[in-house]
């Protein structure tokens, strides 16, 4: 539905009741609530975490977006801000945290490292982007992104939430279960269980 249609639902509301009654769709009011109370997970990885903290502090003031309640527990959070370089040693923990977050959940890759490895991409202990393991909703470029850039990324998350409808979104469907990503293991190198077929017939 277009923004215009949503604002004029097509029902006549008598003038004397207009201050007390509004007509809207369930999706719209539900998403309005969700959008304005995204709780990010409080965990920082690297340099970007410092800018994330600055964003939460008084000057840039994340609470304007209803996001100031950072939860240390994944069970209580809706949004994972991957703020920094993802290393091979850390990725099992990140995947586990992601699996523990309840649906609906969103991931924001903050900065060059989380988006694709950044300046450290060639490193032997660096994962080239968190999207190799968890699905990412919004990428914020920068090294580190300024607080303004992070705020813009968060507004993009809000836009995405606004556009979702519970009729066709996966996790509201009957029988939809939690997405569980297999946790990678630390062997002679990082080992992703999803790559077992590659060991049997490797690419060239």
């Amino acid at each position: 539905m277009e923004e215009q249609d949503l604002n004029s639902p097509g029902y006549e509301i008598p003038a004397e009741m207009q201050s007390a009654v509004a007509v809207t769709s369930l999706d719209r009011i539900y998403n309005w609530g969700r959008r304005a109370s995204v709780w990010p997970m409080m965990f920082g990885l690297a340099c970007c975490a410092i800018e994330m903290i600055c964003t939460a502090a008084s000057r840039f003031d994340l609470s304007r977006f209803g996001m100031e309640i950072m939860r240390p527990s994944p069970r209580q959070s809706d949004l994972m801000i991957v703020s920094g370089t993802v290393t091979k040693k850390m990725i099992p923990t990140i995947v586990r945290l992601y699996n523990q977050m309840p649906e609906p959940k969103y991931v924001l890759a903050m900065g060059a490292c989380a988006s694709g490895g950044g300046p450290f991409k060639e490193g032997y202990n660096v994962v080239s982007g968190v999207d190799k393991f968890v699905p990412v909703d919004v990428y914020v470029p920068g090294c580190p992104p300024t607080p303004q850039a992070l705020l813009f990324g968060l507004m993009k998350i809000q836009e995405k939430i606004t556009g979702q409808r519970w009729k066709d979104t996966r996790w509201y469907q009957k029988g939809a279960d939690q997405v569980s990503i297999p946790v990678p293991l630390l062997g002679p190198d990082l080992f992703d269980p999803r790559k077992i077929p590659l060991f049997k017939n490797p690419k060239a």
Partner: protein, 578 residues
């Protein structure tokens, strides 16, 4: 300058049989036969007064088929340092004697050398991998070890866009990713248990069987625990709430700074140093520039020296305000004190942004000067802040905090580190000075133009959490004093002594440049072989080495206080793990 000179102490005269002076051009120090290392080190500490072992690292001289361990020792009474080395034939596993019995501060650094270079230190109490996990294949800093995305030995790389087709490292790797496995690796048969060695080491502790027989539990804090300042992890064994055994676990942000640094050209490393201690990027630039300038034998211009000092001291103010705020956060004051520090820090970041173009990652220093001159109104802004605002604001924040009941009860007498122990564990910076050791490199071994300014070395006597916090306030005041003097004397003139170049020529040799960073002694050890990129590039990271003292400080404390002790050390994970 601060480079150790062989003339300071004549070791070869004292031990003629197994010590010889370094003869390679551009190198300094003494070469000791490995079998006699402990004997010489004991004499150095007890007879010559080199009581502070600052840095331990290894160098892989692949063409000479040799491995070397390099030590830098200093006197806490001040003065230039002394460098000594041991050399071993290069093998799969090189054995060397451990210096932990003489200098316990070598513990974590030797573990790092084992992890990254495969130098096995015999006599080390707990030799496990530290940055990579147990079970990782190979020792990555060896010159013949190639990472999965290996392209070429040195940068800049060849064109990645020949004929309009992008060549991506992922596409060349058989796993389409940054992965490589040893020959014959079978995932279905392999064992994945990187934690076992840690837990074994953790369980080696003495139990005092007095009173009730209680069950000890193992608790993992981190790597995403909110009180650990990033991705630091500690594994503790608790008796009730009391810590009986603790091991720091790190490497969750190990992003291969040194391996990448050895491939980069000298100038390319400058922005990488920003990302070491990302709260103090200007200090990191400073130390790296000093080390390379020492190798190149150039001197920055007057104006550049003043700008450098102003920037480094502003960094210290910003860092300490952040550290104090976060300590209070750990003590349970939640976000409020943080916001006070943050407000002032933002003002400094604005100046950094005006000067360098970036709030945090300044990348501002160049060899022989700085990248660009101060913008027109920057000097006026700095003057306003440092003469009017900051002295008042620091007093205000201190008044709010220093007499606070919670801070006094939780801070005084907790997490005590005695002065002797601080030296033994190679603690640096506020951690050392809060324990009564007035050791500040800006005074003890002046670099740049610090000998021209009037300031006091902040020192406090008790070595507890409260003293570390109060010492940071004092250091902020002294930094404000330095900036006030420097901005008044700021001369006009060029900002760089040499023509800016992308690829600088660095003559062969080695250099150790160090500064008093906000966290402590930050040193860069660089070996050049005359090519465009360093042969060895090592960072002596203060946060990392300060953590050596974390375990002894925490044992016997309550688990909630361990969080505060960690906060009072003020670590930054980018620097701990590099």
């Amino acid at each position: 300058m601060t480079n150790p000179t062989p003339e300071a102490v004549n070791l070869a005269e004292r031990f003629p049989a197994f010590v010889s002076a370094e003869s390679r051009p551009g190198y300094r120090g003494w070469i000791i036969e490995p079998a006699h290392l402990l004997e010489v080190a004991t004499a150095l500490r007890d007879e010559f007064g080199f009581d502070y072992l600052s840095s331990v690292t290894g160098v892989d001289y692949l063409p000479d088929n040799k491995m070397e361990v390099v030590y830098h020792a200093f006197k806490t009474s001040g003065g230039p340092g002394l460098e000594f080395k041991i050399q071993m034939a290069r093998q799969d596993i090189v054995e060397a004697p451990s210096l932990v019995p003489v200098y316990p501060g070598a513990e974590l650094q030797e573990r790092e050398a084992w992890d990254l270079l495969g130098i096995k230190f015999t006599g080390h109490p707990d030799l496990r991998r530290i940055l990579m996990w147990e079970g990782f294949a190979g020792h990555p800093l060896r010159k013949d070890w190639k990472e999965p995305y290996f392209e070429e030995d040195i940068k800049p790389f060849k064109n990645r866009w020949p004929d309009g087709h992008i060549i991506q490292a992922e596409n060349k790797n058989p796993f389409g990713d940054n992965l490589a496995y040893p020959e014959g690796f079978d995932p279905e048969q392999a064992k994945f248990n990187p934690e076992e060695a840690l837990y074994d080491a953790l369980r080696k502790y003495q139990v005092n069987e007095v009173g009730l027989n209680t069950e000890h539990i193992l608790v993992n804090m981190g790597p995403h625990h909110p009180s650990t300042h990033g991705v630091f992890r500690m594994a503790v064994i608790l008796d009730g709430e009391t810590v009986v055994s603790l091991k720091p676990v790190m490497g969750y942000l190990h992003r291969n700074h040194e391996k990448i640094g050895e491939r980069n050209t000298y100038l390319m490393n400058m922005p990488y140093t920003d990302r070491l201690d990302y709260l103090a990027s200007m200090s990191n630039n400073f130390a790296y520039a000093l080390a390379v300038e020492k190798l190149m034998n150039i001197q920055p211009t007057e104006r550049a020296e003043y700008i450098r000092v102003i920037m480094a001291e502003m960094t210290r103010v910003a860092n300490h305000l952040w550290a104090i705020g976060f300590l209070l956060n750990d003590l349970g004051a939640y976000f409020t004190p943080m916001l006070y520090g943050q407000e002032e820090r933002e003002l400094i970041l604005d100046i950094f942004e005006a000067v360098s173009g970036s709030r945090m990652m300044c990348n501002y220093f160049r060899f022989g000067g700085v990248a660009r001159d101060l913008p027109d109104d920057a000097a006026r802004k700095i003057q306003e802040l440092f003469f009017e605002r900051f002295p008042r604001r620091v007093d205000e924040i201190e008044r709010l905090l220093s007499e606070n009941e919670i801070i006094r009860t939780r801070g005084i007498g907790q997490g005590v580190l005695s002065g002797e122990d601080a030296i033994r564990y190679s603690a640096a910076g506020p951690l050392l000075r809060a324990s009564g050791i007035p050791y500040d490199i800006r005074r003890a071994d002046p670099y740049s133009i610090y000998d021209r300014f009037e300031f006091d070395v902040a020192v406090r006597q008790n070595g507890d959490i409260y003293d570390r916090m109060m010492l940071r306030f004092e250091e902020v005041r002294q930094s404000i004093r330095i900036v006030q003097q420097a901005i008044k004397q700021l001369p006009k003139g060029p900002i760089t002594a040499v023509k800016p170049q992308y690829t600088v020529r660095v003559p062969p040799g080695e250099a150790y440049g160090r500064v008093e960073g906000p966290k402590g002694e930050l040193g860069f050890y660089i070996v050049s072989n005359g090519k465009a990129n360093p042969w060895r590039y090592h960072v002596r990271a203060p946060s990392f080495i300060n953590l050596t003292a974390f375990e002894p400080m925490s044992i016997g404390q309550k688990i909630a206080d361990v969080v505060a002790i960690l906060g009072s050390i003020d670590i930054v994970l980018g620097e701990v793990d590099r």
